[in-house]
Symmetry: C2
Subunit: 342 residues, 2 copies
């Protein structure tokens, strides 16, 4: 039976359990470092603009999936955000996959979609985008998500962004990606089931309860606006992890309304800009976690996880699935909250 | 319903499901590379021997947990393998932890053990060890495991090894680590449950069935001796992943007999040496997966997973738990099998 206790002894690690997935993380206070110890070399890397395939995303054989142009008041012309099929896809369009046997094993064809969201400007990163540009990027995420979710074979759509080689980016020109999958990913399934279980027990959305607790506790909140809130999770998987939630309950990313794009864009850009300034341009990933379809898992609550590459996951993490973070999320939040970006 | 099919079309990815954990991996054949494309810069990194804390592991305040000396016939003197407590532990010895509440969250103190297995020689890596040295290292793993598993609060013992900075090593001097945990790690629990489910359905150990299938299929086996077998898993999480299994059924690492140490040592060293030679000293991790206690989860089958850092896990992998490998495990196995190391 769990009892209340404020804090552990100095130098003793804390094992914290994610109440949605059930996963554990270690906050290794005995190895804790000051926020400034995480400042490293910039993750942005050079690639000649002359060879960049994203300078003219309309040169590929297939037509773009989406194209948004600048508007009159923008003092710029032509395309601002383009969505195109990935020319080296991990998943390809095809007929709904069958499941095959290979001895005791099971496999299916990688039928799905792999798309790229390209913003204008070879070295214009998330934090450099104008409000029109970042809002249009978010609008493009939603528009593609909404179009694809209706396709038959698709079980889950993952939207993500990699910045820096350490975070897996191979093309320097800033871009986000979308992969539509023919299976429900195991990590997502676990969280969906976890939120379902919590709902059955408590009659409430677990993430709504978490957000309400964070608002009350105050100490992990980094940023909020009218519609979105960003905080360092109690169970941070890595130093300076940030999660961004819509304040009102929405199970699926597909439920975000047009009038909220700007609020989401501002929250996302603010968090990236704070990490960029505070940690000197760290490599990072962000991704959206969402209920797979609008009316399934109504008790889930979509959100974004931002994961700066402040550590390497080694043998222990891979052998157990337990991740070690070397800063208290409360200290990371305090540091990021203070960073002024404008 | 799954049906049989030999192979997918060229350029189409395969989604393969792990029949123990239920997890999916992507073998992205459309992005496939030749084995030689994975050859990179050596992962071994320099640190002055004069400052190396592992040159004399007996200088720390606490006495060593284990010390094995060279034997007469070895032409060397003094210690060969030492086990000492980690001076910067992620888990610390203490009373059995209670579980505490913090608002909606649950946490416990990081009570456990964190130990280091140090082999003699600042630049003597796994592949360079003599048969006596590598066998003694394996013996030390088992001896510490056996001693700790009896301790009350310990729910799981993870033994692992990190080589190279990209794989999370911070001290250059070769060493393995042991962490004893007060909780059962979620990834391990999932595999234990998966093997239990398979046993209930089929009356056999899932890993025994996998090994039998691999022996019959031949195409993924890299190495075997009288007691151990190593192969590229059908569901490789990363290019050139290798798993090493005892051929006869043993649920727990603690069940390995003294007479088998040498066979295990040879299998482990051979795989590391093949990766070292074939991929030019890649960074890697290996870890042991085992049933937590001797007589629990009798249907499980302990093994080692060797994970070379041939890719970076990015936003997609972190957002879904699905990993993308860019070489067919069958091709990786063929390449590694051919590498001559002696």
């Amino acid at each position: 039976m769990a009892t209340k206790k404020k804090r552990t002894k100095k130098g003793i690690s804390e094992l914290r359990q994610d109440l949605v997935s059930g996963d554990w993380v270690v906050i290794a206070t005995g190895r804790a470092r000051k926020p400034h110890a995480f400042v490293g070399k910039p993750a942005a890397f050079g690639q000649p603009v002359s060879n960049c395939p994203f300078e003219n995303p309309f040169s590929v054989k297939e037509p773009p999936l989406l194209r948004y142009d600048y508007e009159k008041q923008d003092k710029k012309e032509g395309w601002a955000v383009a969505v195109v099929p990935n020319q080296f896809p991990a998943f390809t369009r095809g007929e709904c996959g069958e499941f095959y046997e290979n001895g005791p094993y099971k496999w299916t064809e990688g039928v799905g979609l792999h798309e790229l969201f390209i913003t204008r400007g070879h070295k214009k990163y998330i934090q450099d985008l104008s409000l029109f540009e970042i809002t249009t990027l978010v609008k493009a995420y939603k528009e593609r998500y909404h179009a694809i979710v209706k396709e038959g074979c698709v079980k889950y759509i993952s939207i993500f962004h990699n910045h820096g080689k350490e975070a897996g980016a191979s093309i320097a020109h800033p871009h986000s990606q979308l992969i539509a999958l023919p299976v429900l990913p195991p990590d997502v399934y676990k969280s969906l089931k976890g939120s379902e279980k919590y709902f059955e027990k408590n009659g409430r959305c677990v993430h709504c309860d978490i957000v309400a607790h964070e608002v009350k506790a105050k100490k992990r909140i980094i940023y909020e606006n009218k519609k979105f809130i960003a905080f360092a999770p109690f169970v941070s998987r890595i130093a300076f992890e940030v999660r961004i939630f819509p304040k009102s309950h929405q199970s699926s990313f597909d439920m975000m309304e047009d009038k909220d794009f700007q609020y989401f864009a501002e929250a996302l850009q603010t968090i990236i800009a704070k990490l960029h300034k505070g940690l000197n341009d760290p490599a990072f990933n962000f991704f959206i976690h969402t209920a797979p379809i609008k009316n399934s898992y109504h008790q889930y609550h979509w959100h974004v996880e931002v994961i700066p590459k402040t550590a390497v996951w080694a043998g222990f993490e891979m052998g157990t699935g337990i991740e070690i973070s070397t800063i208290m999320p409360e200290d990371a939040a305090k540091f990021l909250k203070k960073i002024k970006i404008k």
